[in-house]
């Protein structure tokens, strides 16, 4: 046996670790934590709480070793989504205190406050979702869900759906390259690219549909339909005290935020 193969096999014999304390938190505990932070950010009335939550997400990403890529993605989202939402709300929400009159519309103090509150809340959701995809391994999450009774079929459908996005992109690139090789112009401004891209969609989806049937047969060949108990090559780390503490804190935060919202603390 080669040393590489032996090392790989030895790795699978041990409980799965991603080499980082944050990444190794049980995936369901991680989902509970991220969800709780989003809820806290949304329930509180002002824009400070969602902003703090957004900053916390960045901190968590850095602790997980995914900070740079997370920060890059989230900054783009703030610019592309957050800014537009803020400007639209600031312009369109009516208020008493007019700061800048702009003909039929006006920028008001209330509009700016509402814009800040709304856009930061939306960005807290975006931040949480982005963090989820950055630090939660879907494979580990599905494995954890299978352990608590979710069918492997459901788990496959979810994992395959995510993979399908990558596959569709790859197929589209292949078809586009083939089009370019035949002399069709696919580089240039937005209109040129769009003119080259839209005709590609039909072959891309047809290819995906025909591949789906063959892939189903290939999975059947791997006993996917076997009704007996399925096992797993990966050994998910057992639930630890840290995971319990995280879920408890998450539950307490959500309870406090909801109670605070109902009782008017914020």
């Amino acid at each position: 046996m080669t040393s590489t193969l032996a090392a790989v096999a030895a790795r699978y014999r041990r409980p799965m670790t991603l080499g980082n304390a944050v990444l190794d938190i049980h995936p369901t505990a991680m989902v509970a934590g991220i969800t709780a932070l989003i809820v806290v950010g949304l329930v509180s009335a002002g824009w400070v709480a969602p902003l703090v939550v957004s900053v916390l997400f960045v901190v968590i990403a850095f602790l997980a070793g995914r900070g740079r890529s997370y920060l890059g993605t989230i900054l783009k989202l703030w610019l592309a989504v957050g800014l537009i939402l803020f400007v639209l709300r600031a312009l369109l929400v009516k208020g008493q205190t007019v700061l800048v009159p702009l003909g039929p519309i006006a920028i008001t103090r209330e509009g700016i406050q509402d814009g800040l509150r709304f856009s930061i809340a939306v960005m807290a959701i975006c931040g949480g979702v982005t963090l989820f995809f950055a630090i939660v391994s879907m494979r580990r999450l599905m494995l954890a869900l299978e352990r608590i009774g979710v069918s492997p079929r459901v788990s496959y459908v979810i994992l395959a759906s995510f993979q399908a996005i990558t596959d569709l992109g790859a197929t589209a690139r292949v078809v586009l390259d083939a089009q370019k090789a035949r002399g069709i112009e696919a580089e240039g401004n937005v209109f040129v690219r769009a003119r080259a891209f839209f005709p590609v969609l039909a072959p891309v989806f047809l290819t995906a549909m025909s591949a789906t049937e063959e892939r189903a047969i290939a999975l059947d060949a791997r006993a996917f339909n076997n009704p007996g108990r399925h096992t797993s090559l990966l050994d998910l780390k057992t639930w630890t005290g840290v995971d319990t503490a995280l879920v408890a804190v998450a539950a307490a935060m959500v309870a406090a935020a909801v109670a605070g919202g109902v009782l008017g603390w914020f």
């Binding site: 046996m1 080669t2 492997p152 791997r222 996917f224 339909n225 797993s232 090559l233």
Partner: protein, 286 residues
């Protein structure tokens, strides 16, 4: 026991205008390596799908005649039972990968996970198969990023790992170089030595002639020849269905046409080596 018995079998895929199989009569025995050859669209893949039960369990269409697999009518088998009993590798390597595993090691283990094999046994079996197929170098790679040939090997490895008593393989070497093709055939030969029954559709007739116990020739959706490899591949009729005979068989025929026939028409390189060596020895002796 008979592995597969087909009597008067016809099959037309749903929405197809022409039948893919027409009046097929065939009997394949257990424990042997059965080769299937024929031109493109001659019905090889459909025959493999039928023996594996993909038809009619997945591919809908009009199936006529009688199909018996391991002594039971095909329609009495359920899909899960078939997948445990008959492993299969199909010809398109790009759809043989699950798409949901992060490494080749994990990909090969999928079938074992579905069969409920305990983790320790699973890891041992995957290790053995990886070594057997010589794919140690790609064991950590993402299966979605492999070349066609590598995917083909991984798909094959996955089925070998499942250790089914019957294996149906459709053109396993279509994307492989000659050396890798030979290696795959050696593994298939090893599976046969373990007592497995194998049905192998393949274009590489030289390798098939060397390893297969029987050869079935498909033409226009029907079986036109079937029998022991030597009888089929060495027959004059073999070439009349568009299938090219092994190079050494062609050499033997040309020597015969030139008035210098070998004692026995070779169908494998080994036989050709023996025959030509004997000829050279007798020439030197005279």
């Amino acid at each position: 026991m008979v592995l597969a018995a087909l009597k008067g079998v016809g099959f037309t895929y749903a929405y197809a205008e022409h039948p893919a199989l027409v009046d097929v009569d065939l009997q394949l025995e257990e424990g042997l390596l059965h080769g299937i050859v024929g031109l493109n669209s001659s019905g090889k893949t459909t025959l493999c799908s039928l023996i594996r039960g993909v038809i009619p369990h997945f591919h809908q269409g009009d199936l006529t005649g009688e199909v018996t697999i391991l002594g039971r009518p095909l329609l009495e088998w359920d899909a899960a039972e078939l997948s445990r009993t008959i492993g299969c590798v199909f010809d398109n390597p790009f759809t043989q990968i699950s798409g949901i595993r992060d490494s080749v090691f994990e990909e090969i283990a999928i079938g074992l996970e579905n069969l409920g094999v305990p983790r320790t046994d699973m890891i041992d079996r995957v290790e053995r198969v990886v070594e057997q197929l010589g794919i140690e170098a790609i064991v950590e790679k993402n299966p979605n990023e492999l070349s066609g040939g590598q995917r083909q090997k991984v798909a094959f490895a996955s089925i070998v790992a499942m250790d089914a008593p019957v294996v149906v393989i459709d053109e396993p070497t279509s994307q492989l170089d000659p050396e890798a093709s030979e290696a795959v055939f050696e593994i298939i030969d090893g599976l046969k030595a373990q007592g497995k029954s194998i049905v192998l559709a393949e274009h590489k007739i030289d390798l098939l002639a060397q390893y297969a116990d029987t050869v079935t020739v498909m033409h226009a959706g029907t079986v036109v020849m079937s029998g022991p490899t030597r009888d089929v591949v060495g027959s004059d009729e073999f070439g009349s269905y568009g299938v090219v005979a092994p190079e050494v068989t062609e050499l033997g025929r040309r020597l015969a046409a030139a008035g210098r026939p070998l004692d026995r028409l070779p169908i494998t390189r080994g036989e050709a080596f023996d025959e030509i060596s004997a000829r050279m020895r007798s020439t030197h002796a005279h």
